[in-house]
Amino acid sequence: MLSEVFNAEMFALMGQGLLETLYMVLVSTALAYVLGLPVGMLLVVTDKDGIKPNPAINKTVGWIVNLLRSVPFLILLVAVMPLTRAIVGTTIGSTATIVPLVIASAPYVARMVENSVKEVDRGVIEAALSMGASTLEIVWKVLLPEAKPSLIMGAAISTTTILGYTTLAGFVGGGGLGTIAVNYGYYRSRTDIMMVMVVILIAIVQVIQEIGSLIARKSDKRIR
């Protein structure tokens, strides 16, 4: 049975799927952070206990983030198809999937970032304020560096969450391992191929999580 799964053709297909998946995950995570990191930071800074409280901005942004987060990914995937077509030119394939992936994960990332940055000790921020630091200086020189280990852990978690989204995208021709799993495992009832996909996905999640923890631990000067 294994030899059936692992014939050369299948092997090439899975290799291709793996690469597509990694491509989608990495690019989407990167773009989600480009959007989510500043938004998360904005949420912390404008919080009522933040360094520049601004209830109007905080509430509005928080509301948009919640709204986007409450839309199930599959629905979002379909709903943003016009936008995807406008940006990428098609709605099929891994590059097209990146658009909904980013839209779905950026708010998630924003909340992860918000959580990490909120862990920074209020006293340290006050110390910086007492030295005459500006808001921007506090963001760059206090909040980001002090939250770094937690941000890295968060990034690992976000990456694995986005990986989960990519497999869902397989149902609508998103490409990658998800599409293989759907095409063979679901439509052709090839449970064995499905199982192999699941094992590969588990392995990727484990590897990302381990690498994330390792880097976070290495970068955290609070331990030892």
């Binding site: 910086a128 007492s130 005459g132 020189k141 206090v142 000067k221 331990i223």
Partner: protein, 338 residues
């Protein structure tokens, strides 16, 4: 030494919250701190000490009143101007508040980076400062690798980096053991004498005030109850709050009974070596109970103080007071059973 004001607080009020739940943390505070002095602010928990010191660099915005630094009302400054002024007013904290992801050296560099000092110059200056606080060998250590006392030394070095005119200390020694407290206080005193930097110390421990402060303000229930030179306030506390702080009630023996008056005696160094109480009892032929006795070093001078309970008999009381007068010993009536 001419007394030049460095910080003047005028009619300062601070209320947290609004309406029903409003909390008045500071109520019409007026005080002046002079250049080069070590000024103590003491009070019990919740008295408003932290709020007061945080109003001095506007970490807390007063609800009303003025805060003058070097003659300028800093409540009127723009954000930008205020940030510049804050470089002249450093602060150290009970919980040290060091950047945990930076080494000791990088922590000291931090305020220098903020004021735009080039990196290399900043490191050189930071090394000097770590040497000043006795931590040259720890420049590469992260805060998590340092003891509480060492962390506070790093914080002091950091506070000195921008050559401030004032250092605010909010319970800077409260998280430290007595020996470490002594060494940190000694360091602050030394810096005050060497650099002439004004130091404002918030504490709830009379010992801290006695050891290094020149003047003290006693704050109770959001108000300043008493202000003056430490030995003055210590020898003749006028307010209840001051008395409460100088003689914590639990140091008095609860079981003291009888209805004789309580007297508080203060001896200075020259009187401390004579057996005053023994002589008094012998000469007056009347017993007294000692409710509290202690010696303190204030501003380098030894003081003894004692609370005694007189016999209820008016004749004996008169004799004892006459004896004290003749021996030139200061006394005040206390109201400890109140």
């Amino acid at each position: 030494m001419p007394e030049i004001p460095i910080i003047q607080i005028e009619n300062l009020n601070k209320t947290f919250g609004e309406g029903e739940g409003a909390v008045t943390a500071l109520d019409n505070i007026n005080l002046t701190v002079y250049q080069g002095e070590i000024f103590g602010i003491i009070g019990l928990s919740g008295a408003g000490k932290s709020t007061l010191v945080r109003c001095m660099n506007l970490l807390e915005r007063p609800t009303a009143g003025k805060v003058l630094f070097d003659g300028r009302d800093i409540t009127q400054l723009s954000d930008n101007e205020l940030r510049k002024v804050r470089r002249d007013i450093s602060m150290i904290f009970q919980s040290f508040n060091l950047l945990m992801q930076r080494t000791a050296l990088e922590n000291v560099c931090f305020p220098l980076e903020l004021s735009g000092v080039p990196a290399k110059e900043a490191r050189t200056r930071a090394r000097e400062l770590l040497a000043t606080v006795g931590l040259s060998d720890k420049e590469k250590a992260y805060p998590s690798q340092l003891s509480g006392g060492q962390k506070q030394r790093v914080a002091i070095a950091r506070a000195l980096a921008t050559n401030p005119k004032v250092i605010l200390c909010d319970e800077a020694t409260s998280a430290l053991d007595p020996t470490t407290t002594q060494s940190i206080l000694a360091l602050l005193k030394e810096l005050n004498q060497k650099l002439g930097v004004t130091i404002i110390i918030i504490t709830h421990e009379m010992k801290v005030i006695e050891q290094i402060c020149n003047r003290v303000a006693i704050i109770d229930n959001s108000r300043i109850e008493e202000i003056g030179p430490v030995d003055e306030v210590f020898r003749h506390p006028k307010s209840r709050a001051a008395k409460k702080l100088i003689f914590p009630k639990n140091e008095l023996t609860e079981e003291i009974s009888g209805n004789g008056k309580f007297l508080r005696l203060v001896f200075d160094g020259s009187q401390a070596d004579r057996p005053i109480i023994a002589n008094m009892v012998l000469q007056c032929g009347a017993p007294v109970s000692i409710a509290f006795a202690n010696t303190e070093k204030i501003d380098g001078k030894m003081y003894g103080h004692m609370i005694i309970q007189l016999p209820a008999n008016p004749e004996a009381e008169r004799k004892i007071l006459a004896y004290l007068d003749s021996e030139n010993i200061g006394y005040e009536e206390e109201e400890y059973n109140a």
